[in-house]
Symmetry: C2
Subunit: 473 residues, 2 copies
Amino acid sequence: MTPYAAPVTGPAPDPLRSRSDAVLPLRFARSVAAAEGAMLRTEDFPGWLAGRQRAQAITVRRIPFADLAGWSFERSTGNLVHRSGRFFTVEGLHVRTGEGVCPEWQQPIIKQPEIGILGILVKEFDGVLHFLMQAKMEPGNPNLLQLSPTVQATRSNYTKVHRGADVKYLEYFTQPSRGRALADVLQSEHGSWFYRKSNRNMIVETDEDPPLYEDFCWLTLGQIGELLRQDNVVNMDSRSVLACAPVGGERPWALHSDTELLSWFTAERSRHEVRADPIPLADVRGWVRGEEAIDHAQGRHFKVVAVDVAAASREVASWTQPLIEPHGLGVTAFLVRRIGDVPHVLAHARVEGGFLDTVELGPTVQYTPGNYAHLPPGHRPPFLDFVVSADPARIQYEAVHSEEGGRFLHAESRYLLIEVDETEVSLDPPPGYCWVTRGQLGELVRHGHYVNVQARTLLACLSAVPVQWRETR
Amino acid sequence: MTPYAAPVTGPAPDPLRSRSDAVLPLRFARSVAAAEGAMLRTEDFPGWLAGRQRAQAITVRRIPFADLAGWSFERSTGNLVHRSGRFFTVEGLHVRTGEGVCPEWQQPIIKQPEIGILGILVKEFDGVLHFLMQAKMEPGNPNLLQLSPTVQATRSNYTKVHRGADVKYLEYFTQPSRGRALADVLQSEHGSWFYRKSNRNMIVETDEDPPLYEDFCWLTLGQIGELLRQDNVVNMDSRSVLACAPVGGERPWALHSDTELLSWFTAERSRHEVRADPIPLADVRGWVRGEEAIDHAQGRHFKVVAVDVAAASREVASWTQPLIEPHGLGVTAFLVRRIGDVPHVLAHARVEGGFLDTVELGPTVQYTPGNYAHLPPGHRPPFLDFVVSADPARIQYEAVHSEEGGRFLHAESRYLLIEVDETEVSLDPPPGYCWVTRGQLGELVRHGHYVNVQARTLLACLSAVPVQWRETR
């Protein structure tokens, strides 16, 4: 009656292969479960990191814009540009959303249209996947040195615009024959600070025996998960890439089917009419350019500043550059609720002016409270007050992480997973919010422009940190 | 040793549900197999369509731009705009790709930033899914009347900017409680003619008994598949929506795993540096504006023209509007090859200036041959000459379809599926091309900006037409 053939199983006929790798999630799960590594012992990590900290000593000093070398405000536009025309620029953006407490605004924004590579090389040692992490200094990190992916390269980096040293291990990410991609996806970065920026997030497995350079170490996902519980150790790029790991293990059930979830997301993207137009930096209203900073007139959001970096072991020895410096510590949290015994997080379809496509899924709460302190309680963002005043007993995960230290200065946020129950948040949350499982986020994050960078940090924590709501226990 | 729990099967605990619906592909397959419908008999369809043709008689007349009502060339930019500020505008675009035979060009382009709804309502009759299709006149269709989705509405339509009649059945697509979404995704439209246009493609199932208005009919996928074999019956919007149907039935094998395919696609999107900047229409170089058309200086590609439409049964009685009129019949083809007994199509990662994100997967060949006739053979697009001179015995599907008749005038293309073997195209095709299965395209088309509108037409044909390479036979 029907031509439908049930899926055929068994080995694939030559030269075909299985469309999905059923064993891979098991291999990731084994690495999550490995609290100890075959290479660098967990107890030796702090000493190793401290050694790298000494070896890479740098100084970061705020300077006036006039002291930037190679950077200047373009005469016709006021944009802050590098004389090479590469790296990035600071320009203006005019955003109109027609909704919410701020339906229209202008702001400075970083424009960097090139696609960088954020790649982690993985390899099995003693039957367990290990991740090659790099101790990397970035001028904007509050503690300067954090663990970055194996490769963290802008196109300028690897096309050698700044004539620096070679990027180590880059060939594993640019030559498909050198390894096997386990994840490879273009993901957005901060839509409030970057105009349509995306980077290629890659996890590549190798069977070769790559050399181990001194700033690098092999760690299991279990070891990295433990480091994710500490403040400011695992950098943003690492968290973003780790979020893309196909960890699997999810239940086949959820409050909403995958098709329902996609339909809700499509409706959210359709109902917002966002217009974001680049404008000259000189034309941006509500911001003031001084000798040392471009400030928001009311002192909210962020400022643009300049720094001088003197370093020994980076691709180039020293340099100057602009950075974006946010005001105040951010609060970034997923509310988590067990529904039918399966943990769900409350995702928020967030508009950010710099997104390529209107909205992406963000955490339940992603704000800097100070930016909203002037508003009466009823006008503050949903769930913000709830999160800020959460009972400590309900906080299942908490750590301070910082955003990309190559562009943002001391951009720190408290990342939280907070348990709620049916008396606090219903199954039918306010418009723009939806309960989703970790497995569903994991499926969406295989594709670009669904899960924003802050939600990816929390997804990495959900996947790598053995918190009580992991679906696999 | 590992915390991984094998996927649990069985009924989902309340209030959860299965993330995927295993029965749905079977229901679609049954509809594909149903050559006869429970409502409108196949033999009665031509008479029904002819009746609609008579009832909706319209006349379309070319007019000079000066005779457009409500439309004019804006003084400062030369853009062709409507006085309401809605509908769409014709502006200019400056595209720089830095590659190929034409690394940089300027062109007129349609800008319509709002998201429209293309929705097909489905319902089971006698246990078989039927699709509610509409006989709809569009001024640009060569035969004026074609089968459109149940709802084909711009935001202007349903917010009543042109004060027309209500859009029938719209509530099923705007009120989630009225039906169940089987597919719901934002898909791109023509990247060569539209600037970053996307529409919401929806398939919604209802259990209600909606009234049947006279321009509508219920058809099975088998009946629609038969109509897809005919020239200019099923309109572009219908084909685009049908391509999103979760028909299932694919094999679990392919030449490349899904992750490999995503990795290849990510690399393709990363390696192209496309810059597409809107410019005033008056500044577009290489095009000439006359009284009745904006023409390409060498007479290639397309022209912008204006028409007067006098109609009886559309949302408004008559109107004038600009249209894009391409030069010559296009050729749009997938090469198809059985690999390990599973049919694969040769997808092309295509750059189009109007795409939101650089490249999408298009057919193997998607060109108007006349645009390349002036080039020496070695400089013509890959596979174009092969397709144009294909042995008729190898053509497994061929029909002429037209593109959206509300924006494009007589924009026809020959759509082809052409069988090849290992002596003609290898498993390792040229850069920018990749062998993928229908099942893989079906998975990608659940998400936006992967599969372009021409590839979606061919995907609809692969899914609904019982050609010999359907994976389910």
